[in-house]
Symmetry: C2
Subunit: 436 residues, 2 copies
C-alpha cells in the first residue's frame, strides 16, 4: 500500500509559520470540518418574513433578492407559494430575475404545497415537518410512519420535476434520535439532495449541535443543512460548530430576522467565519456590501441595526481603554481580529474619557503636529482625565486642551505640573472662544 503510506494523513496538513498563521484557524485541519467549504441559504425572504414587523411588498422582495445575489450568497429561500396568492406571484417574479444564486422555496411536507411549488420556476424545494413529540402531539398530530410515507411521496414528486429537494425535520433537538436518524437515512436512500437539522425553538448548545451533526454525518451521504434559532443567543456559535461537525449549508437571515428573535444572522456568521478563514470568506462574498444590505432590510422592517451588531454595530471598531488604544495604534491586530477595511469600514480610537492613556493622547499630539515631550503629554493627559471625570470630552475638547497646553509650553507661560497655570490658560481660552 505504497500510495497510502506516501499520502499525507488528513490531519497533518502543513502548518503555516506562526508569524503568518491566523491564530484562530485550526492548527491541524479537521477531517469533517467544512469551515472553509460551506454554502449559505439566505432566508430573509422566508424566515425573515415571519419576523413580527416584516411585510415585504414585491418591489422590496426584489431589491433584497438582488442585493443578496450581489453579495454572493449561494441560495435565496422564499416563502411558500401556498401561503398566499401574492407570495406565489412574488416567487415566480424572483425566479425570472436570472440571479446567480439558486432560488428555493420552503413548504410543508404535503403534496398540495409541493404541486404549487414546482410550478413557480424555483431551482429547489425545501420541505419541513415537525418530528418532535411536542410537534407531533400539539401541531400536526401525525405519527412517524405517516411522516415517512408523506416525505417519500413529496420527495419523489419533486425529484421527478428535475429540481433540488431538501427534507428537514423541525425541532430536531427534541426529536427522538432513533426516529430522526431513521427518517434521514430513508430519505437519503431515495436521493434527497440535502437533509436539514433545525433548532426551531432556539436552545441547542454547541456540543449538542456538534454531536447530532457528527452522528448524522455518519448516517447520510447527502449534504447537511442547519437552521438555528437564536432565543438564547447561540445561533452563530452553533452554526460554526455545525460546520466543524460536517454540515455543508447554513441558513441565515439579514440581521437574523425571523420568528421571535430570529435565526443565525448573515453578518454575524460572516464575522465568525472570516475570523476562521479570512481569505476564503473574502473570495466568496462581496463584504463591503454588508452594511448596505443590513440597512436595506432594517429599513424595510423598521428596526435599528443593534449597537452591538458584529462588524456594522456603530462601535464595532471603536477602541477606548488606554491600554487598548495604545496597542491598537502600534498594531491593529492586537485587539482586532476583523480588519475594518475589508468591510469598507474604518476604526476609531476614542481618547476623551477618564480611561484614556498617554500613549493614545501622544498619537493625537502627533496627528495635530504639536511638539511635546512624553512628560508634557503625560501632564496634559492628567488634565484630560480630570475634565473627563466630570463629563465625556469630545475630540474637539481634547484638541483644545492639547493646543492650549502646547501654546502655554512654547510661550513659556506653562511648565510641567503647574496645574494652576494650565487652568488659567484654559479659562482664558474659554473666555475668548466660548465654552470648550
Amino acid at each position: 500500500m505504497v500510495v497510502v503510506d506516501n499520502a499525507p494523513a488528513p490531519n497533518t496538513r502543513p502548518v503555516a509559520p506562526p508569524s503568518t498563521r491566523n491564530p484562530y484557524a485550526p492548527r491541524y485541519s479537521d477531517f469533517l470540518s467544512n469551515i472553509s467549504n460551506f454554502k449559505i441559504i439566505e432566508s430573509t425572504l422566508r424566515e425573515g418574513e415571519q419576523f413580527a414587523n416584516a411585510f415585504f411588498d414585491t418591489k422590496t422582495k426584489i431589491a433584497i433578492a438582488k442585493a443578496l445575489d450581489a453579495f454572493g450568497v449561494e441560495y435565496i429561500e422564499l416563502t411558500s407559494p401556498a401561503a398566499s396568492e401574492q407570495s406565489r406571484l412574488d416567487c415566480e417574479a424572483i425566479c425570472k430575475l436570472g440571479l446567480r444564486a439558486k432560488i428555493l422555496t420552503h413548504i410543508r411536507c404535503h403534496m398540495d404545497d409541493a404541486r404549487i411549488a414546482v410550478e413557480t420556476g424555483v431551482d429547489g424545494v425545501d420541505v419541513v415537518i415537525g418530528t418532535s413529540s411536542f410537534l407531533r402531539e400539539f401541531s400536526h398530530g401525525k405519527d412517524m410512519t405517516y411522516i415517512t410515507r408523506t416525505a417519500i411521496e413529496v420527495i419523489n414528486f419533486v425529484k421527478s420535476k428535475g429540481i433540488e429537494i431538501r427534507f428537514s425535520s423541525e425541532d430536531s433537538f427534541r426529536s427522538d434520535l432513533v426516529d430522526l436518524l431513521s427518517i434521514y437515512q430513508t430519505v437519503d436512500k431515495i436521493g434527497v439532495n440535502r437533509v436539514g437539522v433545525a433548532d426551531t425553538v432556539g436552545c441547542a448548545n454547541p456540543r449538542q449541535v456538534y454531536d447530532l451533526v457528527r452522528t448524522l454525518r455518519g448516517v447520510v451521504s447527502c449534504d447537511i443543512e442547519i437552521h438555528l434559532h437564536n432565543d438564547t443567543g447561540c445561533a452563530i456559535a452553533n452554526a460554526y460548530t455545525a460546520l466543524e461537525a460536517g454540515a455543508t449549508h447554513i441558513d441565515t437571515s439579514v440581521l437574523g430576522i425571523g420568528e421571535r428573535v430570529g435565526i443565525t444572522p448573515l453578518g454575524g456568521l460572516i464575522a465568525c467565519l472570516y475570523a476562521a478563514d479570512p481569505e476564503y470568506v473574502k473570495s466568496k462574498y462581496n463584504l463591503s456590501m454588508l452594511r448596505e444590505i443590513e440597512n436595506l432590510v432594517a429599513s424595510a422592517v423598521e428596526v435599528a441595526v443593534p449597537f452591538c451588531n458584529p462588524i456594522t454595530g456603530y462601535c464595532a471598531f471603536t477602541h477606548k481603554a488606554g491600554i487598548h488604544a495604545k496597542a491598537i495604534l502600534n498594531n491593529p491586530s492586537t485587539y482586532e481580529i476583523l480588519k475594518p477595511e475589508d468591510f469598507g469600514l474604518t476604526r476609531y480610537v476614542s481618547i476623551g474619557h477618564r480611561l484614556t492613556g498617554w500613549n493614545a493622547v501622544k498619537s493625537r499630539v502627533e496627528q495635530l503636529k504639536l511638539i511635546l515631550t512624553d512628560d508634557q503629554i503625560k501632564d496634559a493627559t492628567a488634565k484630560i482625565k480630570e475634565l473627563a471625570d466630570v463629563r465625556t470630552q469630545s475630540m474637539e475638547d481634547v484638541d483644545t486642551v492639547l493646543r492650549v497646553y502646547h501654546s502655554g509650553i512654547h510661550t513659556g507661560k506653562l511648565d510641567v505640573g503647574n496645574k494652576a497655570a494650565l487652568d488659567r490658560l484654559l479659562e482664558e481660552h474659554r473666555d475668548q472662544n466660548g465654552s470648550a
Copy 2:
C-alpha cells in the same frame, strides 16, 4: 472500599422521566460541568465603562450597582481606582453601600495600582496582564519572566491584605499554551483565588474554549473565571461551553456593553442557562428585574435595547407563522423554551398577515365569542390573507373582518365561499365606520 462501591458513579445521576425532563438538560450529568453551579461577575461598571458611549456619574453607578445586587449577581466589578480620581471615589462609595454582592476592582498587574486598590474597601482585586505575543510585543513589552515575577509580587501583596485575588491573562487564546499553563500553575500554588481566561479580541470558538478550560481545569485547583468578547457573536455560547468544561465564574455586562461590541450579555447568558436548568436560575436571580436593569443601562449609555435581544427583545415572545401560532395555542412549550411569565413578560400571537393560519384565527374567533364553523373560519382566513397580501392587518382590522363575517352569516346575508357578498359587506362596514 464498600463505601465507594455503593456510591453512585458521578456520571449516572438518575434521569427524570421523559415527560417531565427538560429536553435541553444533559441526559447524564457531566463530571466537569458547572452549568448548575456558577457565579456571575457583573462588569457593567468596569468593562461597560469601556463602551464607546459610556459615561457613568456617581449617581448612575450607584443605581446600577443596587439594581444588579437586587437582581442577585454574586460579584460586581468596578473600574480601576487608578484610572482617575473620581473612579477611586466612586469605588469607595460603592463599597460602603453594604450590598450583598461582593465588590471587585480590576487593575493592571502592577504594584502602583494594587496599592491604591486595596485601600478602597473592595472585597477582591482582579489583576490582568497581556500574555500573547501580540500584546507582549505591541502593548507592555514585557517577557514572561517579568510577568511572572510581577504577578507573584502583586498577588502576595493583595493576599496579605486579606482580600480575594484573581490573576488573569489577556488575549489568552493567542498566548502560548505552555507559557499560559505555567503562569497559571505558579499563581495557583501561591494561593490565588481564581485564574481568569480572557478572549480579549472576541473570536474564540466553542470547541477552543472547551479545550482550553478543560486543560486548565486539570492544571489548577483554584476557581476559573472566563471573560469573552463578542466580536463574532459567540460570547454567550462560549460562556456556556466554558461552564461545561469546568469554569466557575462568568463575566457579563448588561446588554453586553464594553470595548467594541462588548462581552457576554447578562440577559443572553441568563436565557441560555435558564434553558439548561430553569429551577437553578430561578432560585438564584430575580428574573423579573431583567427588563428594568436593561432599560436603566440602555438609557444611561443612550442605546436602544436591540430588537433581537434574548428575552426582552420586543418580539422575543411574538409568534407569527400559521403552524407556529396553532401549536403555541395548543401548548406553549412547542415553540417556547423560555416561559415569558418567569421574566414578568407575556406572549403575543400575531395573526393579521399572509402567513397566518385558520387555527390561530379560530382562537381569536373564540376570544371574541363569535360562533363560526371550521369551514366558515377557513373562509374568513382566506379573506384575511388576501387583505394582508396588500398590507399588514392590525388586530383591529382582523377583528373587523371576523365580526362582519359573523354578522353576515347570522343575518343570512353571507354563506361560505361567497367572496362578492363578503366584499360588499366589508365595504358597507367601511362606509359606516370609516376605513377598517
